[in-house]
Protein backbone atom coordinates (compact mmCIF):
# COMPACT_ATOMS: atom_id res chain seq x y z
CA UNK A 1 0.00 0.00 0.00
CA UNK A 2 1.22 3.43 -0.91
CA UNK A 3 -0.37 6.90 -0.98
CA UNK A 4 0.28 9.77 -3.35
CA UNK A 5 -0.81 13.20 -4.47
CA UNK A 6 0.16 15.79 -7.07
CA UNK A 7 0.66 19.50 -6.35
CA UNK A 8 2.24 22.69 -7.58
CA UNK A 9 4.24 24.96 -5.29
CA UNK A 10 1.23 26.91 -4.00
CA UNK A 11 -0.22 23.75 -2.42
CA UNK A 12 2.90 22.91 -0.40
CA UNK A 13 1.23 23.98 2.89
CA UNK A 14 -1.87 21.91 2.09
CA UNK A 15 0.24 18.86 1.42
CA UNK A 16 2.13 19.35 4.69
CA UNK A 17 -1.22 19.26 6.51
CA UNK A 18 -2.46 16.28 4.49
CA UNK A 19 0.69 14.21 4.99
CA UNK A 20 0.80 15.00 8.70
CA UNK A 21 -2.86 14.00 9.16
CA UNK A 22 -2.35 10.83 7.11
CA UNK A 23 0.78 9.82 9.04
CA UNK A 24 -1.03 10.26 12.32
CA UNK A 25 -3.18 7.24 11.50
CA UNK A 26 -0.96 5.33 9.06
CA UNK A 27 2.69 5.98 9.92
CA UNK A 28 3.84 2.88 8.04
CA UNK A 29 2.40 3.78 4.64
CA UNK A 30 4.75 5.82 2.44
CA UNK A 31 3.26 9.03 1.01
CA UNK A 32 4.63 10.22 -2.32
CA UNK A 33 4.13 13.81 -3.43
CA UNK A 34 4.61 14.82 -7.04
CA UNK A 35 5.75 18.41 -6.82
CA UNK A 36 5.73 20.40 -10.05
CA UNK A 37 7.85 23.34 -8.90
CA UNK A 38 11.29 24.83 -9.02
CA UNK A 39 14.22 22.77 -7.81
CA UNK A 40 14.85 24.67 -4.57
CA UNK A 41 11.22 24.24 -3.44
CA UNK A 42 11.41 20.50 -4.15
CA UNK A 43 14.58 20.25 -2.10
CA UNK A 44 13.11 22.25 0.76
CA UNK A 45 10.01 20.01 0.91
CA UNK A 46 12.08 16.83 0.60
CA UNK A 47 14.20 18.03 3.52
CA UNK A 48 11.06 17.96 5.71
CA UNK A 49 10.86 14.18 5.30
CA UNK A 50 8.21 14.12 2.57
CA UNK A 51 8.95 11.82 -0.36
CA UNK A 52 9.05 14.19 -3.32
CA UNK A 53 8.92 13.18 -6.97
CA UNK A 54 9.50 15.67 -9.75
CA UNK A 55 7.37 15.34 -12.92
CA UNK A 56 10.45 14.54 -15.02
CA UNK A 57 11.18 11.50 -12.85
CA UNK A 58 7.91 9.80 -13.82
CA UNK A 59 8.85 8.58 -17.31
CA UNK A 60 6.32 10.69 -19.24
CA UNK A 61 7.57 10.92 -22.82
CA UNK A 62 5.20 13.76 -23.67
CA UNK A 63 5.97 15.90 -20.62
CA UNK A 64 7.38 18.97 -22.47
CA UNK A 65 4.30 19.11 -24.71
CA UNK A 66 2.06 18.66 -21.67
CA UNK A 67 3.72 21.53 -19.81
CA UNK A 68 3.38 23.76 -22.80
CA UNK A 69 -0.18 22.83 -23.63
CA UNK A 70 -1.71 23.06 -20.19
CA UNK A 71 -2.07 25.65 -17.47
CA UNK A 72 -0.90 24.92 -13.93
CA UNK A 73 -4.18 23.34 -12.83
CA UNK A 74 -4.54 21.25 -15.99
CA UNK A 75 -0.97 19.97 -15.71
CA UNK A 76 -1.44 18.96 -12.07
CA UNK A 77 -4.57 17.05 -13.03
CA UNK A 78 -2.97 15.42 -16.06
CA UNK A 79 -0.14 14.13 -13.84
CA UNK A 80 -2.62 12.24 -11.64
CA UNK A 81 -2.90 9.09 -13.80
CA UNK A 82 0.82 9.41 -14.55
CA UNK A 83 1.82 8.98 -10.90
CA UNK A 84 -0.63 6.10 -10.51
CA UNK A 85 0.81 4.41 -13.58
CA UNK A 86 4.37 5.05 -12.37
CA UNK A 87 3.77 3.61 -8.91
CA UNK A 88 1.91 0.56 -10.25
CA UNK A 89 4.72 -0.06 -12.74
CA UNK A 90 7.19 -0.12 -9.85
CA UNK A 91 5.31 -3.06 -8.40
CA UNK A 92 3.33 -1.58 -5.52
CA UNK A 93 0.39 -3.85 -4.75
CA UNK A 94 -2.08 -1.00 -4.25
CA UNK A 95 -2.06 2.80 -4.46
CA UNK A 96 -4.41 5.46 -3.15
CA UNK A 97 -4.48 8.95 -4.55
CA UNK A 98 -5.74 11.82 -2.35
CA UNK A 99 -6.23 15.41 -3.46
CA UNK A 100 -4.00 17.85 -1.61
CA UNK A 101 -7.00 19.71 -0.13
CA UNK A 102 -8.04 16.66 1.91
CA UNK A 103 -7.75 16.26 5.67
CA UNK A 104 -7.65 12.78 7.18
CA UNK A 105 -9.58 12.74 10.46
CA UNK A 106 -9.78 9.03 11.33
CA UNK A 107 -8.16 5.72 10.45
CA UNK A 108 -8.66 4.76 6.80
CA UNK A 109 -8.18 1.05 7.56
CA UNK A 110 -11.64 -0.13 6.31
CA UNK A 111 -11.16 1.86 3.11
CA UNK A 112 -7.65 0.54 2.53
CA UNK A 113 -8.96 -3.01 2.88
CA UNK A 114 -11.47 -2.32 0.10
CA UNK A 115 -8.75 -0.76 -2.06
CA UNK A 116 -6.50 -3.79 -1.65
CA UNK A 117 -9.23 -6.21 -2.72
CA UNK A 118 -10.66 -4.40 -5.78
CA UNK A 119 -9.08 -3.23 -9.02
CA UNK A 120 -10.49 0.26 -8.74
CA UNK A 121 -12.25 2.10 -5.91
CA UNK A 122 -14.19 5.31 -6.48
CA UNK A 123 -16.14 7.60 -4.17
CA UNK A 124 -19.39 8.86 -5.70
CA UNK A 125 -20.50 12.41 -5.01
CA UNK A 126 -23.97 11.27 -3.99
CA UNK A 127 -25.24 8.48 -1.81
CA UNK A 128 -28.92 7.55 -1.94
CA UNK A 129 -30.80 10.10 0.10
CA UNK A 130 -34.15 11.82 0.21
CA UNK A 131 -34.84 14.48 -2.35
CA UNK A 132 -34.35 18.13 -1.51
CA UNK A 133 -34.24 21.32 -3.52
CA UNK A 134 -30.47 21.76 -3.40
CA UNK A 135 -29.94 18.08 -4.08
CA UNK A 136 -31.87 18.39 -7.33
CA UNK A 137 -29.55 21.21 -8.37
CA UNK A 138 -26.45 19.19 -7.48
CA UNK A 139 -27.68 16.19 -9.43
CA UNK A 140 -28.05 18.35 -12.49
CA UNK A 141 -24.60 19.84 -12.09
CA UNK A 142 -23.07 16.40 -11.57
CA UNK A 143 -24.32 15.36 -15.00
CA UNK A 144 -21.84 17.93 -16.31
CA UNK A 145 -18.99 17.49 -13.84
CA UNK A 146 -18.94 13.75 -13.20
CA UNK A 147 -20.60 11.17 -10.98
CA UNK A 148 -17.47 10.16 -9.06
CA UNK A 149 -15.18 12.54 -7.21
CA UNK A 150 -11.67 12.51 -8.61
CA UNK A 151 -10.22 13.60 -5.26
CA UNK A 152 -9.88 9.98 -4.22
CA UNK A 153 -8.78 7.04 -6.36
CA UNK A 154 -7.92 3.62 -4.99
CA UNK A 155 -6.18 1.16 -7.29
CA UNK A 156 -4.91 -2.36 -6.81
CA UNK A 157 -2.20 -3.59 -9.12
CA UNK A 158 -4.21 -5.72 -11.55
CA UNK A 159 -3.98 -5.99 -15.30
CA UNK A 160 -7.32 -4.26 -15.91
CA UNK A 161 -6.54 -1.39 -13.53
CA UNK A 162 -3.18 -0.78 -15.24
CA UNK A 163 -5.01 -0.73 -18.55
CA UNK A 164 -7.55 1.73 -17.17
CA UNK A 165 -4.86 4.08 -15.83
CA UNK A 166 -3.05 4.01 -19.18
CA UNK A 167 -6.31 4.84 -20.96
CA UNK A 168 -7.06 7.67 -18.52
CA UNK A 169 -3.56 9.12 -18.93
CA UNK A 170 -3.91 8.99 -22.69
CA UNK A 171 -7.25 10.83 -22.58
CA UNK A 172 -5.93 13.49 -20.20
CA UNK A 173 -2.87 14.00 -22.39
CA UNK A 174 -5.02 15.84 -24.91
CA UNK A 175 -8.50 16.27 -23.46
CA UNK A 176 -8.02 17.56 -19.96
CA UNK A 177 -10.11 20.67 -19.87
CA UNK A 178 -13.26 22.19 -18.57
CA UNK A 179 -15.80 22.55 -21.34
CA UNK A 180 -19.20 21.65 -19.97
CA UNK A 181 -21.03 22.14 -23.23
CA UNK A 182 -19.00 19.44 -24.88
CA UNK A 183 -18.97 17.10 -21.92
CA UNK A 184 -15.49 17.74 -20.53
CA UNK A 185 -14.66 18.39 -16.91
CA UNK A 186 -10.92 17.84 -16.50
CA UNK A 187 -10.26 14.26 -15.39
CA UNK A 188 -13.55 13.77 -13.61
CA UNK A 189 -16.02 13.20 -16.45
CA UNK A 190 -13.75 10.46 -17.81
CA UNK A 191 -14.20 8.55 -14.55
CA UNK A 192 -17.91 8.08 -15.37
CA UNK A 193 -16.77 5.41 -17.83
CA UNK A 194 -14.71 3.55 -15.24
CA UNK A 195 -17.41 1.13 -13.97
CA UNK A 196 -18.05 -0.05 -17.50
CA UNK A 197 -14.33 -0.38 -18.37
CA UNK A 198 -13.05 -1.97 -15.17
CA UNK A 199 -14.91 -5.13 -14.31
CA UNK A 200 -13.88 -5.07 -10.65
CA UNK A 201 -14.81 -1.45 -9.90
CA UNK A 202 -15.84 -0.96 -6.31
CA UNK A 203 -17.96 2.01 -5.38
CA UNK A 204 -17.16 3.07 -1.83
CA UNK A 205 -20.41 3.43 0.06
CA UNK A 206 -18.91 4.61 3.33
CA UNK A 207 -20.47 8.04 3.86
CA UNK A 208 -17.49 9.09 5.97
CA UNK A 209 -15.10 8.95 3.01
CA UNK A 210 -14.54 11.99 0.80
CA UNK A 211 -17.11 14.33 2.29
CA UNK A 212 -17.24 17.74 0.64
CA UNK A 213 -19.54 20.62 -0.14
CA UNK A 214 -21.46 18.50 -2.70
CA UNK A 215 -22.83 16.34 0.16
CA UNK A 216 -24.84 19.27 1.54
CA UNK A 217 -27.51 19.42 2.77
CA UNK A 218 -27.89 15.66 3.17
CA UNK A 219 -25.11 15.37 5.75
CA UNK A 220 -24.27 17.00 9.02
CA UNK A 221 -20.75 16.82 10.38
CA UNK A 222 -20.47 17.00 14.15
CA UNK A 223 -17.60 16.95 16.61
CA UNK A 224 -17.19 13.64 18.41
CA UNK A 225 -14.37 13.53 20.93
CA UNK A 226 -11.15 14.07 19.02
CA UNK A 227 -12.72 13.20 15.69
CA UNK A 228 -15.88 13.98 13.72
CA UNK A 229 -19.02 12.15 12.69
CA UNK A 230 -20.92 12.37 9.40
CA UNK A 231 -24.58 11.70 10.17
CA UNK A 232 -23.88 8.60 12.30
CA UNK A 233 -20.65 7.20 10.85
CA UNK A 234 -17.10 8.39 11.62
CA UNK A 235 -15.68 11.01 9.25
CA UNK A 236 -12.59 9.44 7.71
CA UNK A 237 -11.46 12.17 5.37
CA UNK A 238 -12.88 15.52 4.39
CA UNK A 239 -12.29 17.15 1.00
CA UNK A 240 -12.03 20.94 1.35
CA UNK A 241 -12.72 21.49 -2.34
CA UNK A 242 -12.78 25.20 -3.15
CA UNK A 243 -12.09 26.26 0.44
CA UNK A 244 -9.93 29.33 1.00
CA UNK A 245 -8.30 29.62 4.46
CA UNK A 246 -8.11 33.36 4.00
CA UNK A 247 -11.93 33.39 3.93
CA UNK A 248 -12.51 30.70 6.55
CA UNK A 249 -16.20 31.56 6.99
CA UNK A 250 -17.09 30.43 3.46
CA UNK A 251 -17.54 26.71 2.75
CA UNK A 252 -16.29 26.68 -0.82
CA UNK A 253 -16.06 28.81 -3.89
CA UNK A 254 -18.24 26.15 -5.57
CA UNK A 255 -21.05 26.63 -3.04
CA UNK A 256 -21.82 30.28 -3.64
CA UNK A 257 -22.10 32.40 -0.54
CA UNK A 258 -22.85 29.52 1.80
CA UNK A 259 -21.34 30.12 5.24
CA UNK A 260 -19.79 27.36 7.35
CA UNK A 261 -21.98 28.34 10.30
CA UNK A 262 -25.14 27.77 8.20
CA UNK A 263 -23.98 24.66 6.35
CA UNK A 264 -24.38 21.72 8.74
CA UNK A 265 -20.62 21.15 8.79
CA UNK A 266 -18.90 21.45 12.16
CA UNK A 267 -17.40 24.96 12.34
CA UNK A 268 -14.44 23.61 14.35
CA UNK A 269 -13.45 21.42 11.41
CA UNK A 270 -13.10 24.40 9.11
CA UNK A 271 -11.53 26.66 11.73
CA UNK A 272 -8.95 23.99 12.62
CA UNK A 273 -8.12 23.31 9.00
CA UNK A 274 -7.73 27.01 8.18
CA UNK A 275 -5.47 27.36 11.21
CA UNK A 276 -3.40 24.33 10.17
CA UNK A 277 -2.96 25.70 6.65
CA UNK A 278 -1.96 29.12 7.88
CA UNK A 279 0.58 27.75 10.29
CA UNK A 280 1.95 25.53 7.49
CA UNK A 281 2.74 28.70 5.53
CA UNK A 282 -0.31 29.26 3.32
CA UNK A 283 0.32 32.98 2.87
CA UNK A 284 3.96 32.42 2.08
CA UNK A 285 3.29 29.94 -0.73
CA UNK A 286 -0.01 31.19 -2.14
CA UNK A 287 1.66 33.28 -4.83
CA UNK A 288 4.42 30.83 -5.69
CA UNK A 289 4.99 31.10 -9.42
CA UNK A 290 4.28 28.31 -11.90
CA UNK A 291 7.65 27.83 -13.59
CA UNK A 292 6.21 26.77 -16.94
CA UNK A 293 4.09 29.80 -17.67
CA UNK A 294 4.27 30.68 -21.35
CA UNK A 295 6.52 33.61 -22.25
CA UNK A 296 3.52 35.81 -22.99
CA UNK A 297 -0.15 35.37 -22.14
CA UNK A 298 -1.51 34.59 -25.60
CA UNK A 299 1.24 32.14 -26.43
CA UNK A 300 -0.99 29.09 -26.06
CA UNK A 301 -3.54 30.33 -28.55
CA UNK A 302 -1.03 30.32 -31.34
CA UNK A 303 0.97 27.19 -30.80
CA UNK A 304 0.22 23.89 -32.49
CA UNK A 305 -0.50 21.99 -29.30
CA UNK A 306 -3.00 24.64 -28.26
CA UNK A 307 -5.06 24.11 -31.38
CA UNK A 308 -5.14 20.38 -30.57
CA UNK A 309 -6.26 21.26 -27.08
CA UNK A 310 -9.18 23.31 -28.28
CA UNK A 311 -10.49 20.74 -30.68
Amino acid sequence: MIACTVISANYVPAVRVLVASFRRFHPAIPFYVVLAAEEHICQAVAAEGIKVLRPDEMEIPTLPALLERYTCLQTIIALKPAILRYLLARGHDSVIYLDADILVTASLAPLLEQVASHSLCLTPHLHPAPRSARREKIERSLLLTGIYNAGFIGIANHEESRRFVAWWEERLRTHNRRDKKHGYHYDQRWLDLAPSFVRDTHIVRDQGCNVGQWCLPDVTVTRDGSGYRVNDVPLRFFHFSGFDPLQPEKVSRHAGRLKVSESGFAPELFADYAQLLRSAGWEQYINAPWPWDPPWPWHRWFTKSASQNRR
Partner: protein, 205 residues
Protein backbone atom coordinates in the same frame (compact mmCIF):
# COMPACT_ATOMS: atom_id res chain seq x y z
CA UNK B 1 -16.44 11.10 -25.94
CA UNK B 2 -19.76 10.78 -27.67
CA UNK B 3 -20.70 8.28 -25.00
CA UNK B 4 -19.89 10.78 -22.24
CA UNK B 5 -22.34 13.18 -23.86
CA UNK B 6 -25.12 10.65 -24.42
CA UNK B 7 -24.74 8.42 -21.37
CA UNK B 8 -22.43 5.60 -20.38
CA UNK B 9 -25.13 2.92 -20.18
CA UNK B 10 -27.66 2.24 -22.90
CA UNK B 11 -31.25 2.89 -21.87
CA UNK B 12 -32.47 0.15 -24.21
CA UNK B 13 -31.96 -2.77 -21.83
CA UNK B 14 -32.67 -2.26 -18.13
CA UNK B 15 -33.55 -5.05 -15.74
CA UNK B 16 -34.91 -4.79 -12.21
CA UNK B 17 -35.48 -7.25 -9.41
CA UNK B 18 -38.39 -6.55 -7.11
CA UNK B 19 -36.55 -5.09 -4.11
CA UNK B 20 -36.68 -1.91 -2.11
CA UNK B 21 -33.60 -0.40 -3.71
CA UNK B 22 -34.98 -0.91 -7.21
CA UNK B 23 -38.27 0.76 -6.27
CA UNK B 24 -36.36 3.68 -4.80
CA UNK B 25 -34.26 4.04 -7.92
CA UNK B 26 -37.24 3.79 -10.29
CA UNK B 27 -39.06 6.47 -8.38
CA UNK B 28 -36.00 8.70 -8.51
CA UNK B 29 -35.54 8.04 -12.23
CA UNK B 30 -39.22 8.69 -12.92
CA UNK B 31 -39.06 12.04 -11.16
CA UNK B 32 -36.05 13.02 -13.27
CA UNK B 33 -37.57 11.87 -16.54
CA UNK B 34 -41.03 13.34 -15.97
CA UNK B 35 -39.42 16.69 -15.44
CA UNK B 36 -36.50 16.66 -17.90
CA UNK B 37 -36.71 14.07 -20.63
CA UNK B 38 -35.04 16.35 -23.12
CA UNK B 39 -32.00 16.24 -25.29
CA UNK B 40 -29.84 19.21 -24.35
CA UNK B 41 -26.32 17.88 -24.48
CA UNK B 42 -24.87 21.24 -23.52
CA UNK B 43 -26.66 21.06 -20.20
CA UNK B 44 -25.95 17.39 -19.72
CA UNK B 45 -29.39 16.01 -20.59
CA UNK B 46 -29.94 13.16 -22.97
CA UNK B 47 -33.51 11.96 -22.49
CA UNK B 48 -33.55 9.24 -19.82
CA UNK B 49 -30.11 7.92 -20.56
CA UNK B 50 -27.71 10.36 -18.85
CA UNK B 51 -29.55 9.80 -15.57
CA UNK B 52 -28.55 6.14 -15.72
CA UNK B 53 -24.92 7.20 -15.19
CA UNK B 54 -25.91 7.68 -11.56
CA UNK B 55 -27.21 4.13 -11.21
CA UNK B 56 -24.00 2.40 -10.04
CA UNK B 57 -23.48 5.02 -7.37
CA UNK B 58 -27.07 5.05 -6.13
CA UNK B 59 -27.88 1.34 -6.26
CA UNK B 60 -25.56 -0.82 -4.19
CA UNK B 61 -26.70 -4.10 -5.77
CA UNK B 62 -26.41 -3.10 -9.41
CA UNK B 63 -24.93 -5.34 -12.05
CA UNK B 64 -23.42 -4.26 -15.36
CA UNK B 65 -24.16 -6.75 -18.14
CA UNK B 66 -20.88 -7.56 -19.85
CA UNK B 67 -22.24 -10.24 -22.17
CA UNK B 68 -21.19 -9.16 -25.69
CA UNK B 69 -24.34 -10.81 -27.04
CA UNK B 70 -26.69 -8.45 -25.21
CA UNK B 71 -27.65 -5.08 -26.67
CA UNK B 72 -25.69 -5.10 -29.89
CA UNK B 73 -26.43 -1.80 -31.62
CA UNK B 74 -24.99 0.68 -34.06
CA UNK B 75 -22.55 2.03 -31.42
CA UNK B 76 -20.78 -1.29 -30.94
CA UNK B 77 -21.79 -3.24 -34.03
CA UNK B 78 -18.41 -3.27 -35.75
CA UNK B 79 -16.40 -4.39 -32.74
CA UNK B 80 -18.77 -7.24 -31.87
CA UNK B 81 -17.91 -9.22 -35.03
CA UNK B 82 -21.37 -10.47 -35.87
CA UNK B 83 -21.39 -13.89 -37.52
CA UNK B 84 -24.44 -15.59 -39.02
CA UNK B 85 -24.33 -19.35 -39.51
CA UNK B 86 -27.12 -21.97 -39.61
CA UNK B 87 -29.73 -19.36 -38.76
CA UNK B 88 -27.85 -18.49 -35.53
CA UNK B 89 -26.36 -15.05 -34.85
CA UNK B 90 -23.23 -14.75 -32.73
CA UNK B 91 -21.38 -11.71 -31.37
CA UNK B 92 -17.71 -12.21 -30.48
CA UNK B 93 -18.39 -15.93 -30.56
CA UNK B 94 -21.27 -15.98 -28.04
CA UNK B 95 -24.97 -16.15 -28.99
CA UNK B 96 -26.36 -12.73 -29.84
CA UNK B 97 -29.36 -12.48 -27.55
CA UNK B 98 -30.57 -8.89 -27.90
CA UNK B 99 -30.02 -6.84 -31.03
CA UNK B 100 -30.84 -3.13 -30.94
CA UNK B 101 -32.11 -1.53 -34.16
CA UNK B 102 -31.77 1.93 -32.68
CA UNK B 103 -32.44 4.56 -35.33
CA UNK B 104 -33.09 2.00 -38.06
CA UNK B 105 -35.44 3.30 -40.75
CA UNK B 106 -37.07 0.67 -42.98
CA UNK B 107 -37.57 3.40 -45.58
CA UNK B 108 -33.79 3.52 -45.93
CA UNK B 109 -32.82 -0.14 -45.51
CA UNK B 110 -29.26 0.51 -46.67
CA UNK B 111 -28.49 2.60 -43.56
CA UNK B 112 -27.82 1.06 -40.14
CA UNK B 113 -29.13 4.04 -38.18
CA UNK B 114 -30.18 7.61 -38.56
CA UNK B 115 -27.67 8.57 -35.84
CA UNK B 116 -24.62 7.73 -37.95
CA UNK B 117 -24.80 8.77 -41.55
CA UNK B 118 -21.54 7.06 -42.48
CA UNK B 119 -22.47 3.55 -41.39
CA UNK B 120 -24.21 1.52 -44.06
CA UNK B 121 -25.57 -2.00 -43.73
CA UNK B 122 -23.05 -3.11 -46.35
CA UNK B 123 -20.20 -2.08 -43.96
CA UNK B 124 -21.38 -4.43 -41.26
CA UNK B 125 -20.48 -7.69 -42.97
CA UNK B 126 -22.57 -10.64 -41.92
CA UNK B 127 -24.86 -8.47 -39.80
CA UNK B 128 -26.45 -7.35 -43.07
CA UNK B 129 -28.46 -10.59 -42.98
CA UNK B 130 -29.86 -9.59 -39.57
CA UNK B 131 -31.01 -6.26 -40.93
CA UNK B 132 -32.58 -7.86 -43.99
CA UNK B 133 -34.49 -10.31 -41.80
CA UNK B 134 -35.63 -7.53 -39.45
CA UNK B 135 -36.80 -5.49 -42.41
CA UNK B 136 -38.88 -8.41 -43.68
CA UNK B 137 -40.33 -9.04 -40.20
CA UNK B 138 -41.28 -5.38 -39.77
CA UNK B 139 -42.96 -5.31 -43.15
CA UNK B 140 -44.97 -8.45 -42.50
CA UNK B 141 -45.95 -7.07 -39.07
CA UNK B 142 -47.63 -4.13 -40.81
CA UNK B 143 -44.99 -1.41 -40.60
CA UNK B 144 -46.32 0.52 -43.59
CA UNK B 145 -49.87 0.72 -42.24
CA UNK B 146 -48.78 1.56 -38.69
CA UNK B 147 -46.56 4.33 -40.03
CA UNK B 148 -49.67 6.28 -41.07
CA UNK B 149 -51.32 6.13 -37.63
CA UNK B 150 -51.30 9.41 -35.76
CA UNK B 151 -49.71 9.89 -32.35
CA UNK B 152 -52.44 9.73 -29.73
CA UNK B 153 -51.39 12.90 -27.93
CA UNK B 154 -50.79 15.05 -30.95
CA UNK B 155 -53.95 17.20 -30.77
CA UNK B 156 -55.86 19.19 -28.18
CA UNK B 157 -59.32 17.93 -27.23
CA UNK B 158 -60.65 20.38 -29.79
CA UNK B 159 -58.77 18.65 -32.57
CA UNK B 160 -56.18 21.36 -33.15
CA UNK B 161 -52.63 20.05 -33.53
CA UNK B 162 -50.21 20.82 -30.72
CA UNK B 163 -47.29 22.57 -32.30
CA UNK B 164 -43.71 21.70 -31.48
CA UNK B 165 -43.26 25.30 -30.31
CA UNK B 166 -46.18 25.14 -27.92
CA UNK B 167 -44.86 21.90 -26.50
CA UNK B 168 -41.45 23.39 -25.89
CA UNK B 169 -42.98 26.46 -24.30
CA UNK B 170 -44.97 24.20 -22.00
CA UNK B 171 -41.80 22.27 -21.12
CA UNK B 172 -39.96 25.47 -20.29
CA UNK B 173 -42.66 26.28 -17.78
CA UNK B 174 -41.31 23.41 -15.73
CA UNK B 175 -42.70 23.28 -12.23
CA UNK B 176 -44.78 26.40 -12.82
CA UNK B 177 -47.54 24.33 -14.48
CA UNK B 178 -49.96 22.70 -12.15
CA UNK B 179 -50.28 18.95 -12.56
CA UNK B 180 -54.03 19.16 -11.89
CA UNK B 181 -54.50 21.22 -15.04
CA UNK B 182 -55.29 19.20 -18.12
CA UNK B 183 -53.55 21.06 -20.91
CA UNK B 184 -55.56 19.14 -23.52
CA UNK B 185 -58.86 20.60 -22.36
CA UNK B 186 -60.22 23.43 -24.42
CA UNK B 187 -60.39 25.79 -21.47
CA UNK B 188 -56.82 25.16 -20.41
CA UNK B 189 -55.80 25.50 -24.00
CA UNK B 190 -57.35 28.93 -24.12
CA UNK B 191 -55.56 29.87 -20.98
CA UNK B 192 -52.37 28.43 -22.35
CA UNK B 193 -52.79 30.31 -25.59
CA UNK B 194 -53.35 33.51 -23.70
CA UNK B 195 -50.19 32.84 -21.70
CA UNK B 196 -48.27 31.95 -24.83
CA UNK B 197 -49.28 35.18 -26.54
CA UNK B 198 -48.20 37.17 -23.53
CA UNK B 199 -44.63 36.02 -23.95
CA UNK B 200 -44.58 33.04 -21.64
CA UNK B 201 -44.39 34.80 -18.31
CA UNK B 202 -45.74 32.50 -15.58
CA UNK B 203 -47.77 35.33 -14.05
CA UNK B 204 -49.68 35.84 -17.28
CA UNK B 205 -51.61 32.66 -16.55
Amino acid sequence: MRVLRAGVYNGGVVGFADCEEAHWFLEWWQAKVFRRCVRQVKRGYHFEQRWLDFAPSLVARHHLLRDPGVNVGHWNLLERHIRVANNRVTALGVPCRVFRFSGYQPERPEMVTKYNRHLTVADTGEAAAVFARYHALLMSAGYTEARKLPYAYETYRSGATISERARRAYQRQGDAVSNDDNPFERTSFDRFRRWFKMGGHPKAR
